[in-house]
Symmetry: C2
Subunit: 142 residues, 2 copies
DNA sequence: CCGTATCGGTTGCATATGCAACAGTTGTGT
DNA sequence: ACACAACTGTTGCATATGCAACCGATACGG
């Protein structure tokens, strides 16, 4: 039986280390990386939207956003239609570092996919996205 | 650009949640799961072997093993050939819960791979293991 | 309407994790 | 044989993360 999850967890941790090393000089730790990419891609997402997208506990999301707000990377604006919701927007400061964050992300992707053919990657993506879908469904049913 | 790492991280976290829910009644938290599988598969591994296999920081490994030892799941025996090394062995108690841990692991794998053909899985495994290899190489070069 | 359930977010607490500094052991070069 | 580098594991500290309890806002059923 091949160890899918072992490989998957290992890659995940290695990437986290890679991000830390490449971006620590900019005051961005590994855990901020995903937030920056998601928030810049989806300005106006609520905290819950981010929680769902990033698959982290909502308390972790709230606290990470506290930090990102305090260092000036995001603005949080209460939703006027539903006063429970808080909408998250990137600031200019985030947009300034975005290219570098994206570059680190791309470098990592390029390097781990070295020597893998287009056909293989296509199958890989297809399988991976179905797995992600299933994983979220399974958690939703618990 | 497809988001490999986002999917991969999401699946990783979902699995962690799944493990917690399925095994919390037995006093096993998600992070022990991998340790139990690895130690039972490789009795006599040193802490460093485990660190490399599991891709976690060595301090985390040392502390998790402290815990597993204190609850009676492992025994640690200093290596007589190299007194720096500590060899880790499963106890009877670990072997008793092993089937259940393996079952949870298998259930998860079966469920996330539902509807994926053998050919697709073969390509997926091939690509994933190469990515894992590359990821570890990249970290090694840092 | 009113009472209740649900939802989105926050907080207290416990645990997990990483990094850097450290200690003891082994290997290496002279 | 000795000095020094590399290796293995441990510890102090800071941060990240999850869970459960909570709060205010909204939806829903009578």
């Amino acid at each position: 039986m091949p160890k899918i999850m072992k490989s998957l967890n290992s890659i995940s941790r290695c990437q986290s280390t890679y991000r830390s090393v490449k971006l620590s000089a900019d005051g961005i730790c590994a855990c901020h990386h995903s937030f920056i990419l998601i928030i810049s891609r989806h300005p106006g997402y609520s905290q819950e939207d981010i929680t769902r997208e990033i698959c982290l506990n909502k308390s972790t999301v709230a606290r990470t956003l506290n930090h990102l707000e305090s260092v000036g990377y995001i603005t949080r604006i209460p939703d006027s239609d539903d006063k429970r919701r808080i909408l998250v927007y990137p600031t200019e400061k985030m947009l300034l570092i975005l290219p570098k964050v994206r570059a680190v992300s791309k470098d990592w992707n390029d390097r781990i996919t070295e020597g893998i053919s287009d056909e293989e990657m296509q199958v890989f993506h297809s399988v991976l996205s179905r797995m992600e879908q299933r994983a979220k469904e399974i958690i939703g049913e618990l």
